[in-house]
Symmetry: C2
Subunit: 280 residues, 2 copies
């Protein structure tokens, strides 16, 4: 099968590598409006060739859109318009409601499978692409009842070969849950980085002491605004909701420290320890 | 050399392993008021024998106190009282002002070297002890001008053999900087865990989507309240100061989302990306 990857960054590039390695595709066409990324992806042998979207679509069956969610909204209508009946189009976006609202009722809606691989790193660009990014991770497929059966089968088959766990959700659930387990983590990391950078300006020397714990909590703050601002924009209501809860929790801790109520503080930490049962 | 480790948990146990491996000590006596921890440490061959503090002090030169900072304050006076002139006593606590205030002016103050290895994990107990926890990490020594030269030399020699980077600070600086790069990271992780656990109760299914990014930001929330509540208590003012700044940053992000001011939001994320220059 010939596959087209639109957006040869971290996710698109990593998918390209895995599609080849797992024998899902034998030829990868890369499409990227960033010429230098496309060139790099070719040099790194992540893609076999670069092409225009039109040319690539004419020659491939599977088209994977791995671009920021705002760019996705822009290109999706014309991609669906020109889709042939054997095309399978999949996205990898971190928000789902807006894109699925946009394509609802499109005559070729069935060719589209809305997907979100719960995998990534804080890096971006083709150089960030890595092997086996997806194995043992979760792939969420959204509102699959609106995808054609044969298109869905192609994607489910791919997910299986990528050794991913498959989860089905509707778009509303998806956007709510990703706000809780992914989007808020990024917000707290960005805010924590800003906090210590601000304090560093006043105090200096802070980072001499930075250790693994600090690195762990702020590493997501290296993430690209090009990817994340559109996500926060699309998922604004859910993100605001969980952000409010998070600020509330921090204010509660602050109050307990101010009141020197260490017994309640202890109980709160014990409660938060329950996260152990969730994480491996 | 015979070394005594008081507190055979993650840090004490890992130190015991390294002291042996690096040829710093050839016999390790463990002291722990938790009998079952002491037993486990012996079974795991982290320590050579368990003993009472009095017995251990009589037979060893180096005494490392790896216990929560509140427990440290309690035992320190009597340990210094009974210290001989060849004893070297080191702590590993995450806060330094209170302990150094406590021992200031003690006739045997010089035998004490206040240390803080910037290393650890979110786990605790002797089973959590790991080899090579300290290599390439930073060891902070505080107010070393008040330690005897020969005692300091023993510790500096140990730090060198552990392949750690050495940083000297005064206690006030230390407590300020650890609030920024360590203590606040724990607060945000605890609060983030509470946030999603709260939402999980309402919504269910959230954790099906938990991925690496989430795990990274909440892993510190597995940390023990027995260790952390005393740290927050000792470093209350600094922690409150940085917590206030952090809440302010989150509120700013919330306001920008409410106002849909995505341009400013973009710039904030770009600014937070500067953390790249700090982290490897």
């Amino acid at each position: 099968m010939i596959a087209t990857i639109v957006g040869t960054g971290l996710i698109g590039g990593s998918l390209a590598i895995s599609l080849k390695e797992k024998g899902i595709a034998n030829w990868i066409i890369g499409v990227d409006q960033n010429e230098s990324n496309l060139q790099k992806a070719k040099e790194l042998q992540i893609i076999d060739e670069g092409a225009s979207l039109e040319d690539a679509m004419q020659r491939s069956e599977l088209i994977i859109l791995a671009i920021p969610v705002d760019a996705l909204l822009k290109v999706m209508p014309s991609i669906l318009d020109s889709a042939a009946s054997n095309h399978v189009i999949m996205d990898v976006g971190s928000t789902k409601e807006k894109i699925l609202q946009l394509v609802a009722g499109h005559p070729k809606r069935g060719r589209f499978v809305a997907a979100h691989p719960m995998a990534g790193t804080e890096y971006s660009g083709p150089e960030a692409a890595i092997r086996n990014l997806f194995a043992q991770k979760t792939m969420v497929l959204c509102d699959v009842k609106n995808s054609d059966e044969d298109a869905l089968e192609v994607i489910e088959n791919m997910v299986d070969k990528l050794q991913m766990r498959l989860v089905y959700m509707n778009a509303v659930e998806h956007d709510l849950h990703t706000a809780y387990v992914s989007h808020i983590s990024h917000i707290t990391s960005f805010a924590l980085a800003l906090t210590v950078l601000e304090k560093e300006k006043e105090q200096g020397r802070i980072f001499e002491l930075a250790s693994g714990g600090f690195e762990s909590t702020v590493r997501l703050a290296k993430s690209s605004p090009d990817m994340w601002v559109p996500i926060f924009k699309h998922n604004r209501n859910n993100v605001l909701d969980v952000l409010e809860e998070h600020i509330h929790q921090l204010q509660q801790m602050k109050q307990l420290l101010e009141d020197e109520d260490y017994d309640t503080f202890y109980k709160l930490i014990q409660k938060s320890n329950k996260i152990k049962k969730i994480l491996k």
